[in-house]
Amino acid sequence: MSAGTASAINADELARGHWRERAQFIGLSLPATLLILIVVFLPLFWLSSLSFLDRVGELSSENYQRLTGDLYVEAFVVTFQISASVTALCVLLGYPLAYWLSRKPQQTANLLMICVLLPFWTAVLVRTYAWLVLLQRNGLINNTLLSLGVIDAPLQLAHNLTASIIGMVHIMLPFLVLPLYATMKSIDSDLVRASVGLGSSPTEAFWRIFVPMSLPGLFAGVVLVFIMSLGFYVTPALLGGGRIQMLAQRIESTITIFSNWGAASALGVALLVMALALVALLHRVFGLDKLFVR
């Protein structure tokens, strides 16, 4: 390919053209790449390096040893419990919803999709307070039930685990429905029809054909909801009324109350590692590479 041997016609010009094309792509993706490097990877690196330093700035694993303490272990357990419950509830609510939407005519589906997405355009804080208004001691639900005479004393609806989970499910649901709906929409309805044509009942066709084919979307939604739930802060903090301590709150209190950046960083790193490990595990179990092949 040297310029001296002009054996291949126009080879140099074509090679230059390829280079120009590559340079264009690199140029186009450079700003985003730099931005991610600066706002994601740099702070991440800085934070994780903090976690290996003790209070006087010496290298130590003290911060990680502390994570085995009861308080932290409990925070981990609670975090995973809440995330798992929220994800499970989202699947229970979201799967039928996405299925129903995907079987509707396009126009109706679009309209209904806007209804699903509408809460997206309201701040999380606002939605959380809205739940507080509904669930608190003299909130809408308690007042209604009282005035109907269904209950004698207000129920403890807010400031507990249930309230946290209700609020989080509400906020997370679209994240499950969106990828699931997209996947379901792309499933060729002839496949389900073929299954019925070959002798399976509609119910059987749904479970044997439709559900397996919707798994990639479900998987994407589940991972999204679960990972986001792991780091959730506002909703459990407000609706849990301080009784529910998820990791994000523990991290916040470690900084604001004890102003211990090293310990907080260690918590953050531990959370990140667990989340990544979980994705890897799910990936292995579900065999994503097999599922995505069409």
Binding site: D190, R193, A194, S195, G197, L198, G199, E204, L291, R294
Partner: protein, 364 residues
């Protein structure tokens, strides 16, 4: 679960007065058809003619407003699709992408509760039948279009259904492969003890494979006949035009008979009744350059306008007067010996009386 293991025997299909409407449109307009057991029946028609709707009604995916569908003696009109026990081949294959080839083929058996060992052996046998032996472990996306179609075929026949329905199964394949598959499908049909109903818009495909063809137009059966009869004796201009290459030439009524270019035509069939306009149906390959002097040949005079070389044949385009064009096809081998007439030369074409078909123009 019907007849999974029982030996199968092909069933006749009897459709009576089937009506299906979409809004104001009568997609199936009082269709009646009797399909014989073991027959290869093709539903042929242009798009929107209702042929696919009829097939889907047989499969149970379209529910008609009225009418009767019987498989053998059994009324099926209200039976849900999965209980009709038919094998089905879809236009776009409809193979399950997350299953292997063997799993796809074994699917109908699995549904019917056949033991895994038997599933395996029967799926392999079915793959053998479609010349895909040893492909069981492959994934669907590793197959070519023709192979996918074979898998779909194997899946439709693995449970030995007595009726197999096929919805334009070859339309996605290229011409060469399609023609090869047509022959294979026909051979396969002879091995299977099943009634096959096949939908296509390709008249050549229909002629190649079918025992009988039902030509469907506007929700009605225009003609139901064996391929040869359909080609040689179309009963309407629609059928004549749809099947094969056709040239139409207006002819005049003259007393009881018909005349062309002032000469009376010799016919083997009676003149269509009524007094509406008539057309002569001409197949380019049936016209002869040499007009024999026997009394059984009609003559058409004309001027050669153009000669078109088409590889296996030469097409002559001839002006038959009044701006009507007729084309003649001459096989190249013969054309090599006999001289091909030059452009603008006067020629006479012969058409045997048995090949002379005169049809009335349709009202509407």
């Amino acid at each position: 679960m019907d007849a999974a293991g029982a030996s199968s025997q092909s069933l006749p299909i009897t459709v009576r007065n089937l009506v299906k409407t979409y809004g104001d449109l009568r997609v199936l307009d009082d269709v009646s058809i009797a399909i014989r057991p073991g027959e290869f029946m093709t539903l042929l028609g242009p798009s929107g003619s209702g042929k696919t709707t009829l097939l889907m009604a047989l499969a149970g995916f379209v529910s008609p407003e009225s009418g009767s569908i019987r498989f053998g003696e059994q009324e099926m009109i209200t039976t849900s699709p999965h209980k009709r026990g038919v094998g089905m081949v879809f236009q776009n294959y409809a193979l399950f992408p997350f299953m292997s080839v063997a799993e796809n083929v074994a699917y109908p058996l699995k549904i019917r509760g056949v033991s895994p060992a038997e599933q395996k052996s029967r799926a392999e046998a079915a793959l053998e039948m479609v010349k895909l032996g040893g492909y069981g472990g492959r994934r669907i996306n590793q197959l070519s279009g023709g192979q996918k179609q074979r898998v779909a075929l194997a899946r439709a026949m693995v449970f030995e259904p007595r009726i197999i329905l096929m919805d334009e199964p070859l339309s996605a394949l290229d011409k060469k492969l399609r023609e090869q598959m047509q022959i294979e499908l026909k051979q396969l049909h002879q091995k299977l003890d099943a009634t096959i109903v096949y939908v296509t818009h390709d008249q050549r495909e229909a002629l190649t494979m079918s025992d009988r063809i039902a030509v469907i137009n506007r929700g009605r059966i225009a003609q139901l006949d064996e391929p040869k009869a359909l080609y040689r004796r179309p009963n309407s201009l629609f059928v004549a035009d749809f099947i094969g290459e056709t040239v139409l030439l207006p002819v005049q009524r003259e007393g009881d008979g018909v005349s062309l270019q002032g000469r009376k035509l010799k016919l083997s069939t009676p003149t269509p009744p009524g007094n509406g306009p008539l057309q002569l149906v001409i197949r380019p390959e049936l016209l002869q350059l040499e007009v024999g002097d026997n009394g059984d040949t009609n003559t058409i005079a004309g001027v050669v306008r153009q000669t078109v070389y088409q590889g296996d044949s030469v097409l002559l385009i001839i002006d038959a007067g009044d701006g009507h064009e007729v084309s003649v096809r001459i096989a190249t081998s013969r054309a090599g010996q006999a001289s091909i007439p030059d452009s603008s030369s006067q020629i006479a074409l012969g058409l045997h009386r048995d090949d002379t078909v005169v049809l009335a123009e349709q009202k509407s």
